[in-house]
Amino acid sequence: MDAEISLTVDGVPRRLTVDTRTTLLDALRERLGNPSPKKGCDHGQCGACTVLLDGDRALSCLALAVAHDGAEITTADGLAAGGELHPVQQAFIDRDAFQCGYCTPGQICSAVGLLDEVRRGWPSSATPDLGAAPDLSHAEVAERMSGNLCRCAAYVNIVPAVQQAGGAGGSGRGTGR
């Protein structure tokens, strides 16, 4: 069954007709020609499809497009608007935080969302004191990024990249501690 929806994708308003079964991920990739979010598992388990949905990181494979009519979506592609890399993208390059790169757009959107959540003071299960402002310790970043699997296991460099982008300095390439 078809439905007409509008989405703003990486700043560009789009109108499209979708089957009600279409996920946001398939709408982006198959209908709007934006291959930046990746289909890893299609079941909410890997994080490769992570986008910013109305500002918050979310899994586009578990979102029905029709349920997000009017939404504003930012993909990793849209973070480099105007050709200038987002600090998180730059940090992933500086820290060599990927190998094959398949999980990377999801990792990057997740990291952008994570840094925003930390700025808002949102705790994680690695936050030692629920009442205190969270930091960007290794444990915090690893916990908050646990929804993004990397088949190449670039984790040791992903954590410092996120720390660098968050202004925490990071802890040296490759150490991961």
Binding site: L64, G113, G147
Partner: protein, 337 residues
């Protein structure tokens, strides 16, 4: 995926009416469980009724000192709420121990407690499962039982062909905390509103494993109330799992010490519903919460436990594990005092 119609009603009353009058209709919250089930063929609705933008997305103070959580509040927002972190740490900890940042941004207060079991046979439409296909039998008995129930089951080796057999567990962390907090669920149905005490929301399989809760078709959760706790009250959630993050609980414990000589204990990962350890609570009433006392109380609670054998080694490990997890959780709470 089977085709379905989609509706976004104007208000709660219309949503309830729409689902109540269409047997093939389901509510959609954040979609993190339902959309997965649409793909797997576990859910095959004719009509999906979107309620995510219909109920409140606010956490408000109640006059008695408690909190009312709108059904559309996300798991992430709720865990970050100052009042929840300060007054109901057991709930903040349970939420934060569940799923991931992305999923918690999508998952809702109404949807989380109604997520369905992660039993692999329930999720695999090629196998027999009384919960998915009433009367088809239970493939879990004697299969992979590591994640299955030890309490409230029909027996050590239930008849896998019987229509009432089901050894699934309820997977929600949030629900375990809400059971220990004696939360109240606001339910809107075609005949009006009713309040369901959270510990009574979920049910045991009994004669109908297809039903997870006491809710009737068309009943919508609109809000959940947290009753007030006294200023000195303490609470904590502890989850044991196969990985440090991003895994469902093997067992979990929500403990609330309200400060009036009572203790409330709810256990996750051990039964078809969040399991209030009423027997242990009764034994511990008014008693000093020593390790010895808590261990003894849990021994009594677990006398009825039925470990399930399985091709993966079974789930007998859960009996000592949940007992020790309760002891450790209560010990840490006592240290806080």
């Amino acid at each position: 995926m089977k085709p379905f119609s989609y509706a976004r009603p104007a208000d709660v009353a219309e949503a309830v009416r729409t689902v109540a009058t269409e047997p093939g209709a389901v509510f959609l919250g954040g979609g993190t469980n339902l959309v997965d089930h649409l793909k797997l063929g576990v859910a095959r609705p004719e009509l999906v009724v979107d309620v995510r933008r219909l109920t409140s997305r606010a956490v408000v103070d109640l006059e008695d000192g408690g909190l009312r959580i709108g059904a559309a509040v996300t798991n992430a927002e709720l865990a970050a709420d100052r009042r929840v972190r300060e007054r109901y740490p057991v709930l903040a900890q349970a939420l934060l121990s569940g799923a991931t940042g992305q999923l918690r941004n999508m998952a809702t207060t109404g949807g989380n407690p109604l997520q369905r079991t992660r039993c692999v046979y329930f999720q695999d439409v090629t196998t027999a499962c009384n919960k998915r296909e009433p009367g088809s039998g239970c493939t879990a008995v004697g299969g992979s039982t590591r994640n299955h129930a030890i309490l409230g089951t029909p027996g050590v080796l239930p008849d896998p062909t019987a229509a009432e057999t089901c050894i699934a567990t309820h997977p929600s962390d949030m629900a375990v905390a809400l059971a220990a907090l004696d939360a109240l669920v606001h339910v809107q149905g075609p005949a009006g509103e009713r309040l369901v005490p959270f510990p009574e929301l979920h049910r045991l399989p009994d004669d109908d494993p297809s039903r997870d809760t006491v809710l009737e078709h068309g009943e919508l959760i609109t809000a959940i109330d947290l009753p007030p706790l006294a200023a000195g009250a303490r609470s904590a959630y502890r989850k044991v799992r196969d990985r440090a993050s991003y895994a469902f609980a093997l067992v979990s414990v929500a403990a609330v010490v309200p400060g009036d000589g009572e203790i409330r204990l709810a256990l996750g990962g051990v039964a078809h519903k969040p399991w209030r350890a009423r027997r242990a609570e009764e034994i511990l009433r008014g008693a000093p919460l020593t390790e010895h006392a808590v261990r003894g109380a849990m021994e009594a609670e677990l006398t009825a436990a039925q470990p399930q054998p399985g091709v993966d080694g079974g789930n007998g490990f859960k009996i000592p594990l949940v007992q020790r997890t309760v002891v450790a959780t209560v010990r840490d709470l006592a240290l806080e005092a």
